[in-house]
Structure formats: structure tokens, C-alpha cells
């Protein structure tokens, strides 16, 4: 009996010790932070102690040359600066380069760099930093998953301490947008040399925030860069807490335990807005949702069938039923916020017209097809497929839905044997070349990303012209013509453009939401 008591006491004591030896990280207070006040010029600006931001997924790597997920790229955009940057309309603004010139050969770009800028580790930023950074991103041994963004670069020359020349292998109309991509963030050579493989634990850029801490799966902490060339941010610390569950993120915002929450489900947006304590920012992103129809398959190789598939779908109904109105009907193969967008036309919902086209194509008795979709990859993906299935049935088209785990579907798609796929595409450079070339040029059939097996010689030459022309008006004209043909030939069922929603506390201002799904906090402040 005595043995039992001793044993029980030891066990309970051990359990209490282990439970009490919890994480040494302290939690955030749920009380409102009292901002300090500082004088900056004539204005009295309050510097907040911290901003708590809820993100839905773990960060992957803080090495911008090895990062491929948009969630971590968003974090990296706050740590690193590039030569140029996007504004909210995806226009190009100066960043580390204040001026750039293109030579008459349309290949040679000269960037003039800001002087006096330093990396977070104190080392100087200069032309050599740019050369090092881009060469590292392009190096074979780096094996960068975003190398394709910079693949047009053939040469980087240091002209002087603050002048760098980049030569492209062809006239690249999208070059500046590519320079604004997260992979083009400039890294500190000193830090890379010092830390080697462990650089990911010591990411060092010139951006408005410095890396402090990364508890994998838990949080990322950044602190403001007092030496940021554009003025130190008005928040001491950004604390990104990983909260994978959508409902939990919404509840945390509602309870006041966070200042910003990213990627809210559309069902929670209206509820949070009604509280009056929370602002919801929602706008079109660069993502376009569509159904790719395999043009090598019988029936789908007929443009009349593909057009009928479009006419049979009531896109407005899908948006209101499945997405709570948080999307816009597609009238172009890319989103309105993407450079190169033109409003072409929408396929209006017309079941009779769909039936007539099917009859004309020899399918008066209907046809049977399969639609593959990933589960949980896109907002309400399965529900959207089910709604479309019902709509197609009214036009005599029987569609069987196959639900797949996303990575398994990625492998399956490469074989190119499917009938139809529900897909989304977000051009990471925010412009037409990345939106259209990989998805619709005939050289990009599976295993690449032209899932529709679309091939049109005129479109091919127009897309190439858009890619390899510098003059924006000429590019726009080429893209408009290509988009018109694409919409008419309907390799896709053009569905909608997704709207992203983020919630901020009513006292939080200055959050910059880019359509490329990156969120910048350099101008944020708390009222």
C-alpha cells in the first residue's frame, strides 16, 4: 500500500512538473496595447508595441530563393526589399532602385540604386548585393522553384557601387513586374556566407521589418527596422500567429485577441462586419477560377460543345450560392487586377442556346463527362462542382465528379488523361504573360500547365509578342486580341475571379493588400 502511495505521488508530481514546464513563450495580452507616442516632424505618431496577425498556414522557408508558397512569400515581402515594388494597383514603384533605364536594344536595363541603405545585419547594400542575389537565385545548386520568374536574365554587371546593369536574353515586357516578385528580394551576402545552409534561420534583407523568431507551426515574429530607408514602421513588432482553422481565426478576431486576420471564409465576413469593431477589406485578387476542358477528348475537341458548357453555367448563381457574393463573374481569362486584362465578354446563362449548340455538334442526346477537383484546395471547390453538375444536367450534359487529394491530383493532371478539371490560377507576377503563357500556349501542354491542351497558332504568336515586346500599348493590343480569340474558342469554362478578405481591428490603418495575395505592413499604424 505504501508503495502505491509513493508511486502515485511520484507520478502526479511528475505530471504536474511536465505540465507546468510549458512553453517559455509568453502569450500576448488580450488587453489593448497602450501605444507610445513619438514626435515625427510636425505630426504626433503613436508607435504601437505590437500587431497580432493571424495566418492560416505555417511558414515554409525565409530564403526567398527557395520559397514557393504565397503565405511565406507574403512574410518575405515584409523582410526583403527588391529593386522595384508594386502598389495596390500593381503599378511599378521604385524601391531599392530609384531610377531605371532601358537601352535601345530593349535588352539592357540599368538600375540606379539608393545610397546609404543597409541590410538588417549592418552590411551595406550596393550593386554587388544585387549581382550576388540574382546569381544565387539563378544558380543550379540553389534549385530555386521560382527560377522561371528570373529566367530571362542572361547577364548582371556591376557598373559602379550604385549602378547595376541587367541584360535579358530577349526583350522582356514583364521584366519590371518580375523584379517586384518576392524571389527578386535582395539578400545579404554577408549573412548567406556566414550562415550557409542555416541561412533560413537568419534571413537578412533591407526591408521594413527584421526577422526575430520562428517557432515552426506556432508563430513568426518580426521587429521594425529602424534603419529602413523609407522611415521606420510605426509598429515595434509584428507577431504572426499560425491558426489553421478558419472558424478559430474568425472567433479570435471577434474576441479582440488579434488585430488582423488573413483569408477569412466568406461566410464569416458579413458576421464580422456587423460587429462594427472590425473592418473587412475585400477585393479581387489575381486568381481566376475556371474549368479546363481537355481539347484532345471527343466532344471537348469541338468548340460548340465547349461554348455550350459555358452557356449552361449560371456563374452569378454560383457566386451567390457558394461564395456569399465574394467573387466576380469572369469576362476574360484573367482577373481585372492583372496587367493586360481586357473586358471581353461573358457567356450569359442560356440553357437553350447550350442545347442548340450541342445539337449542332451532334450531341442532341446529351453527353457524359468527368470533372476532377481537389478537395479543400480552393474556396468551396466541391460545392461549386456540385452546383455546376446540376446546371449541366439541365442542358443534357451528365457530369461525374471525382474528388481528389490535391497533391495526388497534381500528379494525375500531368498525365493529361482527364476530361475536365476545376482549377485556379494566380499569376505570381501580376501580369498577362504569367497569366496566359503557361496556361494557354501550345508549348505548355501537360505535364506543363496548359491543361486544356489548347493550341491556336495565332494565339501562340500573340502571346509570344506580348512576352517579348517592351512597348506597353503594343503588348496590350496583342493580349487583347489573344484574349478575344481565347474567350471565343472557350478552352475553359470561365467562372469567376476570387475576392480575398482580410479583417482588421477598427483601430488598425495602413495595411496594404496587394492583389497578388501579399500583404504589406510597412505603413500600418494603430489609431
Amino acid at each position: 500500500m505504501k508503495k502505491i502511495f509513493v508511486l502515485t505521488a511520484v507520478v502526479i508530481a511528475s505530471l504536474l512538473c511536465v505540465a507546468s514546464c510549458g512553453s517559455s513563450q509568453t502569450g500576448q495580452s488580450t488587453e489593448a496595447q497602450q501605444p507610445a507616442e513619438i514626435q515625427q516632424g510636425d505630426a504626433q505618431i503613436q508607435v504601437a508595441d505590437q500587431l497580432v496577425i493571424l495566418i492560416g498556414a505555417n511558414a515554409s522557408t525565409f530564403d526567398p530563393h527557395k520559397c514557393s508558397d504565397s503565405n511565406t512569400e507574403m512574410l518575405n515581402k515584409n523582410i526583403y526589399s527588391g529593386l522595384v515594388q508594386f502598389d495596390k494597383e500593381l503599378s511599378i514603384l521604385p524601391d531599392l532602385a530609384y531610377e531605371w533605364l532601358l537601352a535601345d536594344d530593349d535588352l539592357t536595363w540599368t538600375f540606379r540604386l539608393r545610397e546609404g541603405v543597409t541590410f538588417h545585419d549592418g552590411s551595406a547594400f550596393n550593386a554587388q548585393s544585387v549581382k550576388f542575389s540574382f546569381e544565387r537565385a539563378l544558380a543550379e545548386e540553389t534549385a530555386s522553384p521560382r527560377r522561371y520568374v528570373l529566367e530571362s536574365i542572361s547577364e548582371i554587371n556591376v557598373l559602379s557601387d550604385y549602378e547595376v546593369q541587367i541584360v535579358t536574353s530577349y526583350p522582356n515586357g514583364a521584366f519590371l513586374q518580375q523584379m517586384a516578385h518576392p524571389v527578386a528580394g535582395i539578400v545579404s551576402q554577408a549573412a548567406v556566407d556566414a550562415y550557409g545552409e542555416d541561412y533560413v534561420s537568419h534571413p537578412t534583407g533591407c526591408g521594413p521589418f527584421k526577422f526575430v523568431e520562428w517557432s515552426v507551426g506556432e508563430r513568426v515574429v518580426l521587429e521594425r527596422n529602424m534603419n529602413y530607408y523609407n522611415g521606420a514602421p510605426m509598429v515595434e513588432k509584428l507577431i504572426f500567429n499560425v491558426v489553421p482553422d478558419d472558424t478559430t481565426r474568425s472567433l479570435l478576431m471577434q474576441s479582440g485577441e488579434a488585430d488582423v486576420a488573413l483569408r477569412l471564409p466568406s461566410s464569416d465576413v458579413q458576421r464580422l462586419e456587423k460587429t462594427g469593431l472590425i473592418n473587412v477589406i475585400s477585393d479581387n485578387s489575381v486568381m481566376t477560377m475556371f474549368v479546363a476542358m481537355n481539347g484532345t477528348k471527343p466532344a471537348l475537341d469541338d468548340v460548340r460543345v465547349r461554348q455550350a458548357m459555358n452557356y449552361a453555367i449560371d456563374k452569378e448563381a454560383i457566386i451567390s450560392q457558394a461564395l456569399n457574393g465574394m467573387a466576380t463573374v469572369a469576362d476574360c481569362p484573367m482577373s481585372p487586377v492583372t496587367w493586360g486584362y481586357n473586358s471581353i465578354f461573358t457567356y450569359e446563362h442560356n440553357v437553350e442556346k447550350a442545347k442548340a449548340l450541342l445539337a449542332e455538334a451532334g450531341y442532341a442526346d446529351g453527353l457524359e463527362l468527368t470533372l476532377q477537383t481537389a478537395v479543400g484546395r480552393y474556396l468551396q471547390d466541391v460545392q461549386v462542382c456540385q452546383i455546376m453538375q446540376e446546371m449541366w444536367a439541365k442542358a443534357g450534359i451528365t457530369v461525374h465528379i471525382e474528388q481528389w487529394e490535391y497533391q495526388a491530383l497534381q500528379s494525375e493532371m500531368k498525365k493529361g488523361e482527364f476530361d475536365m478539371l476545376l482549377l485556379g490560377w494566380s499569376p505570381s507576377t501580376g501580369e498577362a504573360n504569367q497569366a496566359l503563357y503557361p496556361t494557354l500556349h501550345s508549348s505548355q501542354w501537360p505535364p506543363n500547365y496548359n491543361r486544356a491542351h489548347y493550341a491556336n497558332e495565332t494565339v501562340d504568336s500573340l502571346l509570344l509578342k506580348g512576352q517579348q515586346t517592351i512597348d506597353p500599348d503594343e503588348r496590350m493590343a496583342a493580349y487583347k486580341e489573344a484574349e478575344t480569340i481565347i474567350m471565343d474558342e472557350a478552352p475553359w469554362v470561365f467562372l469567376y475571379y476570387v475576392q480575398d478578405a482580410i479583417a482588421t481591428g477598427s483601430n488598425v490603418e495602413g495595411v496594404i493588400v496587394l492583389p497578388t495575395e501579399h500583404i504589406l505592413f510597412k505603413d500600418v499604424f494603430i489609431k
Binding site: G27, E151, Q254, E405, Y449
Partner: protein
């Protein structure tokens, strides 16, 4: 005793090699391309192949398996190309969080389950027995995610009593421990009741009562001790189930544990993390089983290990 312990340890090693091999084979058989998953949905095929070669995934499977096992023998669980960190660092950071939650959940389960089971056995056939078993039935039937969200709504959003995401001090353990512990408590209660009923019918219990001992001494010092073997067995099993089933709770409460890490890694096909996580969980479960076996000898001196 030492011979028994060493024999059990040997079996643990065999289990771990088996777990490592099974996880390697299964993970490489499932559809999905690791290099494509890490490269992202817009990488060119050239970039994907370059990444594949840099990760050594272009080598034959037998060569990859050999490198993996040799690495394990040196304590190297591999490298996560998704995170750019050694797997050991990532797993070592997550494992204590999972273990602490599992232990605190087991504490809740034991404190709820054993008294409930004893009460049901002692008051067999009466109202207390029925109520106890209904409570156990509800506990076992309730989905953990549903209970978790209810608790969050009540105690966090409405009453603002405790935090409900991440680890923010000891208070953060309360809700997830209750969520997990309730389910395990139900199983423990039922097994305790069964064990106690079997023991309470024995002659030595009748003798103890006949000697005039207080009923509480009969129940807790004589009956419960003899029923402890089956209770310890179910506790050991429940611990394993807890470890494996924590992933839903970890997701809802944003708990940075191994369960959630494994699922995230599986979704991104970061197979090295999945293998490492499975191995650590297998090792933990094997050690728990070993401790359970050793505990039998302490509880029941009749058990010999020679």
C-alpha cells in the same frame, strides 16, 4: 528483471525499424510528387527536375532507403526541403508540445474516468451506475472537433476565461486537455467498471468485509489495486490513441504539435518530416508500452520476469 528489460528494448528497436521501413514504403507509394509539391503549382518542369535532383529524389528507391536507414543509425532524421531545416530540429520542437498535451489529457482522463468507473461498479444496477455509463457513452460518442468548438465558444468567446490557441501559459492546456481527456475518460471508466466488478465478486473481498474493514478501504485499497492491471492496460492503449488522434485537436487549438506537423507535411509531401514524425510517435508509444509492462510487476508482485 534486467534480462526482461533488455529483451523488451530489443523488441522496441525491431518495432522502430519496422515503422521506419513501413512509413518509407507507404509514403513513396502514395500518389503525389514531392519535388512538384515543394516547387509549387507554377514551377516549370525544368525547375521541378532540378529540385528533384538536388533532393536526391531522382535516385533509385533502394538507394534512397539505404541512405535513410544509415542516416537513422547516425541519429539523422533527414532534411526538410520545404522548411530548409533538419527534420530533427522540427520534430524536437514539436514533440514536447504533443507530449505535454497528451500527459495533461491523460491526467484529465484518469481523474474523470477512474472515479466514474469505481462509482458505477460499487453502485451497480442503481441510478449512479446508469448515470456514470451514460456520461461515458456521451464522452465516447462526442466528436472531438465539435466538443472543442463548443468549449471555445463558451469559455473563450463568451466568457473570455481562457486562451484557446497556441501555448500561452498553463491555462492554454485546459480546453484541449478536456477535449481529448473526455474521450479517453469514457474508455477508462468502462474498463474500470468491468475490472472492479470482477474483483468485487472475489472471495478475498468478502473476507475483507467480513473482517469489518471500512467499505472505502475495501474498494480503494483492495479492489481497485487488484483491478489496476486492466486499468493500466487501457490507460497505456488510450495514450497511444491520444498520440495518434491529437491532430484534429491540435488544428483547432493551433497547438504546435507533431500530429498537426505530420498532416501539414503530408499535404505538402514533405515526406522526411512525415517519416520523422511517425518514427518519433512510434518510439514514444513503444516506450509507453514498455513502461506499462514494467508497471505490471510493481502492481502485481506475482508477475515474475525470469
Amino acid at each position: 528483471m534486467l534480462k526482461y528489460f533488455l529483451k523488451k528494448l530489443g523488441m522496441v528497436l525491431i518495432v522502430l525499424i519496422g515503422a521506419a521501413t513501413c512509413s518509407f514504403v507507404v509514403l513513396h507509394a502514395i500518389p503525389g510528387d514531392t519535388a512538384q509539391a515543394i516547387a509549387g503549382p507554377q514551377a516549370t518542369m525544368e525547375d521541378v527536375e532540378r529540385l528533384r535532383a538536388s533532393m536526391g529524389l531522382d535516385k533509385p528507391l533502394t538507394e534512397q532507403y539505404k541512405s535513410y536507414i544509415i542516416g537513422l543509425c547516425h541519429g539523422n532524421l533527414g532534411f526538410s526541403y520545404h522548411n530548409g531545416k533538419p527534420v530533427w530540429d522540427l520534430v524536437a520542437a514539436a514533440w514536447p508540445n504533443t507530449m505535454r498535451l497528451a500527459l495533461s489529457s491523460m491526467l484529465v482522463a484518469i481523474l474523470l474516468g477512474i472515479p466514474l468507473g469505481v462509482l458505477a461498479a460499487v453502485k451497480r444496477g442503481r441510478v449512479a451506475d446508469t448515470i456514470s455509463m451514460v456520461i461515458a457513452f456521451i464522452g465516447i460518442s462526442m466528436p472531438s472537433f465539435w466538443l472543442a468548438l463548443l468549449l471555445i465558444l463558451l469559455f473563450c468567446v463568451n466568457l473570455n476565461l481562457v486562451p484557446f490557441y497556441g501555448i500561452q501559459g498553463w491555462q492554454s492546456y485546459i480546453l484541449p486537455s478536456v477535449t481529448l481527456g473526455v474521450h479517453a475518460a469514457a474508455s477508462i471508466a468502462r474498463m474500470t467498471r468491468t475490472g472492479m466488478l470482477e474483483v468485487l465478486g472475489q472471495d478475498y473481498i468478502r473476507t475483507a468485509r467480513g473482517k469489518g474493514l471500512q467499505e472505502s478501504r475495501v474498494v480503494f485499497l483492495h479492489a481497485l489495486r487488484n483491478a489496476a492491471i486492466s486499468i493500466v492496460t487501457i490507460i497505456g492503449l488510450q495514450f497511444g490513441i491520444l498520440l495518434g488522434g491529437q491532430v484534429v485537436t491540435e488544428t483547432i487549438f493551433s497547438w504546435p504539435g507533431i500530429g498537426r506537423m505530420i498532416v501539414d507535411a503530408l499535404n505538402s509531401r514533405d515526406l522526411q518530416i512525415v517519416q520523422g514524425g511517425i518514427l518519433i510517435l512510434a518510439c514514444t508509444f513503444a516506450v509507453i508500452n514498455l513502461l506499462t509492462d514494467l508497471l505490471y510487476g510493481i502492481l502485481d508482485p506475482r508477475i515474475r520476469y525470469n
